[in-house]
Symmetry: C2
Subunit: 135 residues, 2 copies
């Protein structure tokens, strides 16, 4: 069902390593363009296209979480848990907490069944102000 982590990622390259290390050092969701800019500033000659492709590959492999801004842009973040989960994101500083939603999962299933729907999936994001940004 889930793809092997290395599908479409046959080789290990310095570009992929750089992106991965950058992701590991960052807690918040970042756009491909942001990551590209950061890498260039630190001396890398990596291309924007490569950043896009690599992040997509990481996402396909389940290595990163993807979320979409209201504007439609893709944001990426290193994903620890392999299990299904959702995100509580600070809209000010980007701090993100991964949360499981058993209650929601159950509710979703019930609602779907009540209306005769099958094969139901869902998208869910929480966004607010974290403790420090609240002050």
């Amino acid at each position: 069902m889930s793809k092997p982590p290395t599908e479409n990622m046959a080789r290990s390259t310095k570009q992929r390593t750089a992106i991965l290390e950058l992701l590991e050092s960052d807690d918040a969701f970042r756009s491909a363009q942001d990551l590209h800019a950061i890498l260039r500033e630190s001396g890398s000659k990596i291309g924007l296209t490569t950043v896009y492709r690599t992040l997509q590959a990481f996402a396909d492999a389940g290595m990163v979480d993807v979320m979409r801004l209201p504007g439609g842009d893709h944001l990426y973040r290193l994903c620890g848990a392999e299990e299904h989960h959702h995100h509580l994101v600070c809209r000010s500083c980007g701090k993100t907490v991964e949360v499981a939603g058993p209650t929601v999962e159950r509710w979703a299933g019930k609602v779907a069944a009540e209306h005769g729907f099958t094969d139901v999936g869902h998208t869910l994001e929480l966004h607010g102000l974290c403790a420090s940004c609240s002050k």
Copy 2:
């Protein structure tokens, strides 16, 4: 808090009437481009820009629901209820059911509080196959 339904909509024009009637006759979510194409096919000379602007105005006024496709496109649908609700959409035929999620709202508030977050909002969509499309 919520804006008056007519803000940014001072006048009544045949274009707005046409769009509204089209929305009233359709149960599923449609894109601005789809609606524009339909209107043109039925003889209207309405411009694409106008369709975009009008749908946005309707959305701002809370007259229509907006949802985003995975690809990022905006879809619009006439919205009956003024209250907060979510959607259960058939990914095959587009049939849509509006559902309230008191359970989810409560859960969201609790999770947010546990992590010290304030001013928390959320996005939630359910998508599956409706009864007829399931067969």
